[in-house]
Subunit: 281 residues, 2 copies
């Protein structure tokens, strides 16, 4: 894979962040990040227990591994990411859950290394906001999906992200996190565009079911893993990345202090509109 390809599509490595960052993304599971898909998976699994599910841009692999749990031991998940470096971590995560019906493979969403009509389910989570041609990515995901299969995607709309109470460090984190996405060519409005991208990618409106969510994941996971994880990450090796990106030592300390203070607030609220689509091929 050329460097050019990597830059044009990567959802992960471009941030130059490490294991600790992926660790804190493990607050995402099938149960809190793909809940809209679970009833559909239950139905597919009943009629086709040996189904094959492709997860694209899976990062730390916590959603992939829990999807493998959901579909049961006769089914199989292929967990992919553009960045080879993250796959061993995803594999270790699956092992920690005792999940074995899963394999790991490098894959570029723009040139998936699979035949046409290969999978019963093709899934991604928070991918298109980091991809430069989302409708092309959807077209490619639909290519490897079997006729009668289901493609599923969930995208947050970062411009709608709200944190309350508005502790200064929380607002600085939001700005930093948004700036990083923009600096790498991502989109802060993926949620609102997802349906348009699906139509441009070749899906017909009648094939698409749309639903919406609010939380990043769940209140508990947002507090205990994500918010607490920010201060863990920013006091570890990733602190250097944040400094290089332009945050000052004081700003980083303020972010760490305020995210922890926020967790203990009775009125703690951290929301973002999430769009979820299911496409039946």
């Amino acid at each position: 894979m050329s460097e050019k390809d990597e830059k044009s599509t990567s959802s992960v490595d471009y941030r130059g962040l490490g294991k600790d960052v992926f660790e804190f993304f493990t607050h995402r599971t099938a149960f809190n990040s793909a809940a809209y898909l679970l009833p559909v998976l239950e139905s597919i699994t009943k009629s086709n227990p040996g189904l094959r599910l492709l997860d694209v841009g899976a990062g730390a692999g916590s959603v992939s591994a829990t999807l493998a749990q959901v579909i049961g031991p006769e089914g199989h998940v292929v967990c992919t990411d553009l960045a080879p470096s993250v796959l061993p971590q995803a594999e270790a995560f699956a092992q920690s859950l005792g999940v074995t019906n899963i394999s790991f493979q490098t894959a570029d969403v723009h040139k998936l290394p699979f035949e046409n009509d290969s999978f019963d389910v093709v899934h991604c989570h928070q991918l298109f906001g980091h991809v430069k041609a989302p409708s092309d990515a959807i077209r490619e995901m639909l290519r490897v999906l079997k006729p009668g299969g289901v493609m599923a995607a969930r995208e947050g709309d970062k411009e709608t992200e709200i944190v309350w109470p508005p502790l200064p460090g929380m607002l600085k984190w939001h700005k930093f996190d948004s700036d990083v996405v923009i600096a790498h060519g991502g989109s802060l409005t993926a949620g609102r565009q997802l349906l348009s991208w699906a139509l441009e990618g070749g899906a017909k409106r009648s094939q698409i079911t749309v639903s919406y969510g609010n939380w990043l994941t769940t209140e508990e996971a947002t507090k205990e893993t994500y918010a607490r994880g920010i201060s863990k990450v920013l006091t570890g090796p990733t602190r250097q990345n944040a400094l290089q990106f332009g945050l000052s030592e004081d700003e980083i300390d303020e972010i760490c202090r305020d995210t922890l203070a926020w967790v203990d607030r009775e009125d703690a609220t951290w929301l973002m509109l999430q769009t979820e689509i299911i496409i039946r091929k």
Copy 2:
């Protein structure tokens, strides 16, 4: 009621808008705007069919009248608004549904004309975003609520409002609508503040259940009544108000054209984070 009081609290008349505007707010019903409350009401109604429900800042009264349907003929709804001028319209709306277990009364949320512990349920919808002291309003609503009763509120967070595709006239409408709220002392961040306001108003965290919604109402109601209603309102008597507020004739025409074009788009999306709270006294 003095003019000063009216200015400090009104949720309605301050815009100087007329019957046609309230007409287009009738897309709001108990079913699409108070769905989070319906299971609670069902439970209360079973044990106490003669319950009394107070609706505050009810405007066109379409939520009040449908709440009266939900609680059934033995229950009673007191539909109130600060603006006496809107109550006949609310009454006509209830009559059009054949709803008779409802009465109408002028009331200021900051000085409700009711005894302590008078109601089994106290409800409001999109009120606190137009009130200058929301936590005082909540304290007053809790005062007239019986011990063991339920207070319920739903507030949109206008800063999270998104319209897709971003037709220029749709964005102009969003800006105009937000500017009007700000010009009258309202808040564009009511949704994220609702839980804080409830705590400041005297509720304990353990008494409060929070949930979140996305749509303005439902997709169908947003398209057919709200979006189509905008062009109806802006080609009627309210056009003068919009001109006085600073929109040009061309801008108004663009809003009308684009809202109707938006309704027919396959990717039409119009969302806003909504916070819903239930407080058990």
